[in-house]
Each structure stands twice: as structure tokens, then as C-alpha cells.
């Protein structure tokens, strides 16, 4: 039975390899050329507890996972109860009756004796998950070689367990192949040929972007869901000559990043809400220093420690107004892995050009989910703007240029010379200061410096509005019955829901705000103009509708309603579609 999309769920106890199994299936489908998203869910527990991984694939773009799943690989009993909405009558559930007992479920069950297969073939029980993968592959029609390749992709460093994984896959594959006669499994049409694509998480995309953008200094303190960036950067530190420091705290990490950027390199850190809270004072300092330090904020469900491994978008307003005092900053929230890559590079350019701190906001769902995307381009612009190289600065100085670190200019931006340049004395002050960087609280100097800093925002906003596509729209405003304002990973859920709603005759016009600060008022109003006065909603992973509040503050436009999700889980396409439909009926 051919389907437009296929969704696979792998569920099991943490440590049972359900996440790996799911990712391997995702990688195989990606290698085959399908659009794929891969989403994990796990508790803040190292072993034990239930974990799950969803893969959704199609020939057309896939935005978000949905209900139901076409295949479920159940490695534990909880899979049946926790994910009941994933299971419908047509769902094929692969599980081992011997291990879990016969489950009473209204679906197509396929009993694969995982335990027996492992036992009889003297395999390590750790590869049980791969028996399931093999069985699913057989039913889905994924060639075994693609699964093998996917395993190599997943474990690039190889090892004996990898070989055993492959063996387990083949055993599962063979077992299931021999028993497909009585079911009609869902399959995808043949994939199209596509250009080079990669299967990456938001965190990986951000890391790749940092490498490409020329980051030379990365410091961080571990914090879910940002830690994978630290792991990535540490791993590649030697081959790419990047200084990577695990700091003693987020305060230290942020200070280091400002120090490194001050000393003349591109520098960044990543953290989650609690860590960014600790960076607030330094963030304000970066504003005062006018240092282009870059912060990645990977949001999770809050407040406080919240649900450390679950999703949330509740830090938006706090981030937009971060740090005491007023100063321009960049806050950008990409929608998916591909946009992440491009926006991160864009933000490094803008931060250096305007000498402002920047925050890239992602949520856990984007940070840790996989997506097959076009290979990130290498031919991107790297523009250090106001940051001179030491050589260039020295030459200018020899030609008579007098460097003042806080020179008052028309745009407010002062060229920057890295310390260690003969002829330049580089001074920065966290207190109010004059053009040379010496402390001053003279009212006129203070006001002039304040205005210099704030002036930059005007030019920055203009550039963003004119060149960087800060507000993206999807759908036809004229045909739409509803406008949805959204941002970050929630956009994907809206796009997925919009497919369902289109089927019900409800057209959505989706407005994704990418730049949150400086807020692209004009571009937003352009997007808004065609739907002025028509019904609108915000969809966000929070309770209060923070994007909606920000839009109203900045433009006066008020959404008529808000659909929020704050239980830590992503919206499924149909779930959101139903919520929107029932809001429309309200």
C-alpha cells in the first residue's frame, strides 16, 4: 500500500537503543532520498524510563511528525500505553511476544522473537533493537544495505558492536521477510533523485555553521539540550583548530566568550534557560562593551529546571529584553536545521558588523531532532564588518589613523582593532565611558554614548529588513481563512497542520517571525497587510503567547487567539489541525 508519508515509532526503556534504532531508520530513509524528520523523546534519566524516537518520511517535504504511526517497534510495554494515539488499526506493531507478553491492541501486530533470535545467534542483547530495525526495514521495503550504511553513519568510529548490529539487522530482516504475506504494509513511492543532502540535528547544523563562520573559540558549561554542541565542538577542536573550553559555570563561559571576541576572534557559547540566566550580567556587559559575542539559547520546558529533556518556547520575551539596561542586540529564531545553518552564519556577520551581542534561539525540538536537508552551502559570505585584522589595523595606523575603541560615528558603529596591535590601545569599560574607553559619567558624554549605542539598532534593523528576510510567510493570504503567527520549530507543526486543514477546506496563511530583535516592524506589516482584520492565531510552545505579545508591542497587531502547548511535547500535525479547527468553530 503506497502512502504519501510513512511514520515509524520506536519505543523502549532508556538504554534499550530505541533512539539509535529510530535514528538508523531515519538515516536509511534519508540515504534513500526521502524527506525525513526524526524526533526523540526521553526522560532526564540515564537508564530506565521510557524513550521514543519517531521517523516520518515522504517524497514531499515533511515538516513535523504526526498521528498515527504506520510502524511501531515496541521494545517495552510502555510503548503501547504511552503512545496509544500513535497506534491505529492499520499500524503495524513489531514486538516480541515472548518478552512483553501478548498485547491486547487493535492493530496489526507482528511477533518477532527478538529474544530468541539474539539467544540463538549468540548476539549481545544490546543489539536487540537492531533486530527490530531489520524487521521494520523488511516490511517497509528498505534495502538491507541502506540500513547497514545507516548504521555506519550512526557509528562512524565502527567497532565490534557495529558488526553485531548489522548481523542483528539481517536476522530481523530475514525473519520478517518470511512472514509478510498476511499483511499489507505501508510503503513509500520510489524516492526521487536529489542533490547532496545531509541528515542533521539543529545542534549539528549550528555547530557546522560555527565552523564555517570561523568560530575560533567556544566555551560552554554542559546543559541539556545544548550539550551536544559542546560535544561536537570538542570533538572537532583539533582538526579545525578551535579552542574549546568546558568552563566552570555559565558565567565563566559567557565571560570567556566576550573575552575571546574582544581579543578579536569569533566566539560563541550555547546553553539553556538556567544557564542563560547566569549569563545575563555578561550579556549586558557585552552590550556595553559592544562586543559581538554570540549566544545559542536552546530552550527547554521551564520554569527553573523544569523538564530538562522536554521542549518549550517560553523564554522569548525574557531573551528579547535580556540583560539590565538598554542596548541593541540580535535575537533570531530559525525554524529548522537548514535555516539554523544559514542564520547562524548571518548572525555572526551582523554581530561583528554592528558590534552587538546576539542570541540564536532554538528549542529542544529543533536542537535535537534530525532532518534531512540540502547540504549546507559553503559559498556563504563572511563579513567581519567593523572588525579589522591586526595587519590591516597596523597599516591604517601607520598611515595616521587614530584608533578609538568607542569612536562616535554616524551609524554608531566603531571599527574594532584586536588588542596586541602596535599603535592601538584597546580599552573597554563596563562603566559608561568616552570614545577612548576611559570611564566617564559626565552627563553629556553619557548621553552621547548611550545614543551612539542605540543608534546602531536603527541601521541594524534596516539591514535586516532589507537583506535578511526576517519574516517568512507560507500560503496564500488571499485564499486563507486564518492567519497563524508562529516561530521556531512550532512553524513546522503549523505547516504540517496546514496540510490537514487544506483537506478540510481551511487555508492557512502562516507568518513566521525569524528576527525577534531588532523587530522587523516594516516587514511584519507587509506580511500583515493582506490579512488585516481577518482572524488570526498564534501557535507557540508556551502558555501566554509570547510572540503574540511581542507583535502587539511592536506593531499594535493583535492575534485573536493563542494555541499553546506547554507539556513539553511537540504538536503533531493532526493534533494541531484539530485544535485550530475547533478554535475556528469556537
Amino acid at each position: 500500500m503506497l502512502k504519501r508519508f510513512i511514520q515509524v515509532l520506536v519505543g523502549g526503556v532508556a538504554g534499550s537503543g530505541s533512539l539509535t534504532a529510530g535514528a538508523v531508520i531515519g538515516r536509511a530513509l534519508h540515504r534513500l532520498g526521502y524527506h525525513v524528520v526524526g524526533v526523540n523523546e526521553y526522560p532526564s534519566i540515564i537508564r530506565g524510563g521510557h524513550t521514543a524516537y519517531w521517523v516520518r518520511a515522504g517524497v514531499e517535504p515533511v515538516y513535523e511528525i504526526d498521528y498515527p504511526s504506520d510502524y511501531v517497534i515496541a521494545l517495552d510495554k510502555a510503548t503501547f500505553s504511552v503512545h496509544s494515539r500513535d497506534i491505529e488499526r492499520d499500524t503495524v506493531i513489531i514486538y516480541d511476544e515472548e518478552s512483553l507478553g501478548k498485547q491486547d491492541v487493535d492493530a496489526v501486530t507482528v511477533n518477532v522473537p527478538f529474544k530468541r533470535i539474539i539467544r540463538e545467534n549468540k548476539l549481545n542483547p544490546l543489539v536487540t533493537n537492531m533486530v527490530g530495525v531489520g524487521a521494520a526495514a523488511a516490511l517497509m521495503g528498505i534495502p538491507v544495505t541502506f540500513i547497514e550504511k545507516a548504521i555506519e553513519d550512526q557509528f562512524p568510529r565502527g567497532g565490534p558492536l557495529v558488526e553485531m548490529d548489522k548481523k542483528a539487522v539481517i536476522l530481523g530482516y530475514e525473519y520478517a521477510s518470511s512472514m509478510t504475506e498476511n499483511i499489507e504494509p505501508a510503503r513509500l513511492p520510489d524516492p526521487p533523485r536529489r542533490g547532496r543532502r545531509v541528515f542533521v540535528t539543529g545542534n549539528e547544523a549550528a555547530s557546522l555553521a560555527m565552523v564555517r563562520a570561523g568560530v575560533r573559540f567556544y566555551a560552554a558549561y554542559p546543559m541539556t539540550p545544548a550539550s551536544p554542541i559542546l560535544h561536537y565542538m570538542a570533538r572537532i577542536s583539533r582538526e579545525k583548530d578551535i579552542i574549546v573550553i568546558q568552563a566552570e559555570s555559565e558565567i565563566a563561559a559567557a565571560q570567556m566568550v566576550v573575552g575571546a571576541a574582544w581579543a578579536g576572534v569569533r566566539a560563541a557559547t550555547a546553553t539553556s534557560g538556567g544557564g542563560f540566566a547566569l549569563m545575563q550580567e555578561t550579556f549586558s556587559m557585552a552590550g556595553m562593551f559592544e562586543t559581538p559575542a554570540v549566544f545559542i539559547l536552546a530552550m527547554r520546558a521551564g520554569p527553573s529546571t523544569g523538564m530538562a529533556t522536554q521542549n518549550g518556547q517560553a523564554d522569548l520575551l525574557w531573551t528579547v529584553f535580556s540583560g539590565h539596561g538598554e542596548f541593541p542586540r540580535i535575537v533570531v529564531a530559525p525554524r529548522d536545521q537548514y535555516e539554523m545553518y544559514n542564520r547562524v552564519i548571518e548572525v555572526f556577520n551582523l554581530a561583528e558588523k554592528y558590534r552587538v551581542p546576539a542570541v540564536i534561539v532554538e528549542d529542544k525540538h529543533l536542537a535535537e531532532s534530525h532532518r534531512s536537508i540540502e547540504e549546507p552551502p559553503e559559498n556563504i559570505v563572511i563579513d567581519r564588518g567593523a572588525v579589522l585584522s591586526r595587519r590591516e589595523a597596523e597599516e591604517r595606523i601607520k598611515r595616521g589613523w587614530v584608533f578609538k575603541p568607542y569612536e562616535i560615528t554616524e551609524t554608531g558603529v566603531s571599527p574594532w582593532v584586536p588588542p596586541g596591535t602596535p599603535g592601538a590601545i584597546v580599552k573597554s569599560e563596563s562603566s559608561e565611558h568616552n570614545e577612548e574607553g576611559y570611564v566617564s559619567s559626565h552627563p553629556e558624554i553619557a548621553a552621547a554614548m548611550y545614543e551612539k549605542r542605540m543608534r546602531k539598532e536603527r541601521f541594524l534593523r534596516k539591514e535586516i529588513e532589507e537583506k535578511h528576510d526576517p519574516v517568512k510567510t507560507y500560503g496564500d493570504p488571499d485564499k486563507a481563512s486564518l492567519t497563524v503567527y508562529t516561530w521556531g520549530s512550532a512553524t513546522n507543526a503549523v505547516l504540517e497542520a496546514s496540510r490537514h486543514l487544506a483537506g478540510r477546506g481551511v487555508g492557512l496563511y502562516v507568518v513566521q517571525v525569524v528576527y525577534m530583535a531588532p523587530f522587523p516592524v516594516n516587514r511584519f506589516m507587509e506580511a500583515y497587510e493582506p490579512v488585516r482584520g481577518k482572524p488570526s492565531l498564534t501557535v507557540e510552545y508556551n502558555y501566554t503567547g509570547q510572540l503574540g505579545k511581542l507583535i502587539r508591542m511592536e506593531t499594535g497587531v493583535r492575534a485573536d487567539g493563542h494555541i499553546g502547548k506547554y507539556d513539553g511535547r511537540p504538536f503533531r500535525g493532526i493534533e494541531l489541525a484539530e485544535k485550530i479547527a475547533s478554535w475556528l468553530r469556537r
Binding site: A23, R27, D153, Q154, F155, P156, V198, F199, N203, E204, R212, A213, G214, R216, F217, H231, R235, I236, R238, E239, D241, I242, I243, I245, A247, E248, I251, A252, Q255, M256, V257, V258, G259, A260, A263, G264, V265, A267, T282, M285, E368, P376, E378, I382, R384, S389, R390, P418, P419, G420, T421, P422, A424, I425, V426, K427, S428, E429, S430, V439
Partner: protein, 288 residues
């Protein structure tokens, strides 16, 4: 009455007679005698009376927020190891709010120097107790006397394995300049705690008080390579108080241990925009 820092043209706003002057003098003498040009120096200061010193030194400088001298100085040194990076912190700054960084900069043994202006109180905020105030000391925030015991930064640093631990006295800038030079020549992290009389808020720990008590370790044949001995000296108090180098040991610095830095041009001069093609080919999964 207003003094001008000759080099920078800035009015010096310390109280006349403040111990900070001795530290400034000693620092300037040390870098002059070592022949280090201003553009090769980065002065990093905390917040407090001490922190104003960056306005009086003609060199690159960065006045960070309260307590954060160690991490920011560390990053600057790593980005450009050719620079002499010297932190100036207060006792509140380094041992109060910033205490959490000290053990870690010691563990890293990065080649950064930390000079602590130890006036045993919070000067700029008008004289509250600090972690080095004496037990019983009456201050603005402790009108009935401090109830906590003071920290012993020298003992703490030695016990944590700092590679250079010294104490100076702002009333003896000649000796202090020598200490600074030794610290600057040392390869690795150096802590120099400096007794700095606050003539405005502290009527006990005056120049006089210290003059009557301090003696120089190097005049007593103290062996700075002996940790146990160094620790014993660190606890010597309060009739006779040692100044000088308590402890000094050679060990690899952070910079030497990072191949991405060692024997390569400073990061600040490296080109931007590494390729990612190889990463994409090699690591299909990096979050594992």
C-alpha cells in the same frame, strides 16, 4: 588635590594615600623594567576601587564586571598567547563574588597573572566586610562585627596546587615590583595577593600595622618549592606576617597542552571560514 595618571591623562580618583597607588607604581615599574610595550599588555580588572587602575595604565585594558577577572583573562590569553595578561581584582571581587573561578584558573594553569588588591573590605561600595576582613571587624554591613572567619587565600591557592603564590605589600612598591616581575616571568598562573591599606574605611589595617608586621620570605631562606613549608608560612599570622614568594613550581600551562594553540600563530590571526565538507563526510552523527 587631583592627581593625573601621567600616561593616560586620567584623573586618579583613589583617596590620596590609598594603597592602590603603591600597586600602580609597582606594576608600572615592573613592565618598564621588563621592557614590555603597552600594546602587548592586557590589563583586566574587576569592579571596585582596584578596578579603576585600568584608567591609569596606558595599555590595552578591559574592565569586566564584578568578580569575573579569571575567566575573561583566560580567554584573552588563549586567543593571543603573545600578550601579557594581568588581572587586577579586589578581595571582594576575587574571594567573594568571584571565588568560584579561582580554583579553576589554578587547575588550568593558564599563563595569566592575578593581582589581588586585598584591602580586607569592599572599598568602592563604602566599606562593607569582605572575605578577608578579620573576625570581629566592624564595618558598614557588620556593625556588630564580622562573625565569619576570614579566608586564607594564600593557603587555599597553595593547597589547590597553584604554580606561583605570593604576597606583597602596597607600602613597599619596590619589593612589589620585584614580585610582579617574578610573576610575569613565571610560566603559568600566578596569584599575588597584595596587602593594600584602605585609608578611608579601615583604621586597623594601616600602613603602620603592616609595616610593623611584615617580613620578607626571601630574607629567611624560605624554599618556595616546598609545599608543606609554604603552607606553614601561609598560616603565619598575625604578629609576624610573611610577604614574598610562598610557593613556585613549574608545570605545563594550558596553552602548552592545547595543540590547537601550541606552536601555531595566535588564533586572532588565523583565517576564517573553515570548510565543513570533511566534517559532513566524516561525522554523520556527532551527538552520539
Amino acid at each position: 588635590m587631583s592627581m593625573i595618571a601621567r600616561d593616560t591623562g586620567q584623573v586618579i580618583t583613589w583617596c590620596p594615600g590609598c594603597g592602590n597607588f603603591g600597586i600602580l607604581t609597582a606594576f608600572q615599574r615592573a613592565v618598564r623594567e621588563l621592557g614590555i610595550p603597552p600594546w602587548k599588555i592586557v590589563v583586566v580588572t574587576g569592579i571596585g576601587c582596584h578596578g579603576k587602575i585600568c584608567n591609569y595604565i596606558y595599555a590595552n585594558s578591559l574592565h569586566t564586571i564584578h568578580g569575573r577577572v579569571p575567566p575573561i583573562a583566560t580567554a584573552i590569553k588563549l586567543v593571543n598567547p603573545e600578550l601579557l595578561v594581568v588581572g587586577f581584582a579586589g578581595d571582594g571581587d576575587a574571594y567573594g563574588i568571584g571565588m568560584g573561578h579561582l580554583p579553576h584558573i589554578i587547575r588550568r594553569n593558564v599563563d595569566v597573572k592575578l593581582i589581588v588588591h586585598n584591602n580586607r573590605l569592599y572599598g568602592l561600595t563604602t566599606g562593607q566586610a569582605s572575605p578577608t576582613s578579620d573576625k570581629g571587624q566592624k564595618t558598614r554591613s557588620t556593625p556588630y562585627g564580622v562573625v565569619e572567619e576570614p579566608v586564607n587565600p594564600i593557603a587555599m591557592a597553595i593547597s589547590l596546587g597553584a604554580s606561583f603564590v605570593a604576597r606583597g605589600f602596597a607600602g613597599d612598591p619596590g619589593h612589589l615590583a620585584w614580585l610582579f616581575k617574578e610573576a610575569f616571568k613565571h610560566k603559568g598562573f600566578a596569584l599575588i595577593d597584595v596587602f593594600q591599606p584602605c585609608i578611608t574605611f579601615d583604621k586597623i589595617h594601616t600602613y603602620q600595622y603592616y609595616r610593623q608586621r611584615v617580613y620578607k620570605l626571601e630574607e629567611t631562606g624560605h624554599d618556595p618549592s616546598n609545599r608543606e613549608e609554604a603552607l606553614r608560612k601561609a598560616y603565619e599570622c598575625c604578629d609576624r606576617i610573611p610577604i614574598g614568594i610562598f610557593y613556585r613550581v613549574e608545570k605545563p600551562t594550558l596553552e602548552e597542552q592545547l595543540p590547537e594553540i601550541k606552536d601555531k600563530p595566535p588564533m586572532v590571526d588565523r583565517p576564517l571560514g573553515s570548510s565543513i565538507r570533511d566534517l559532513l563526510a566524516k561525522y554523520h552523527s556527532l551527538a552520539e
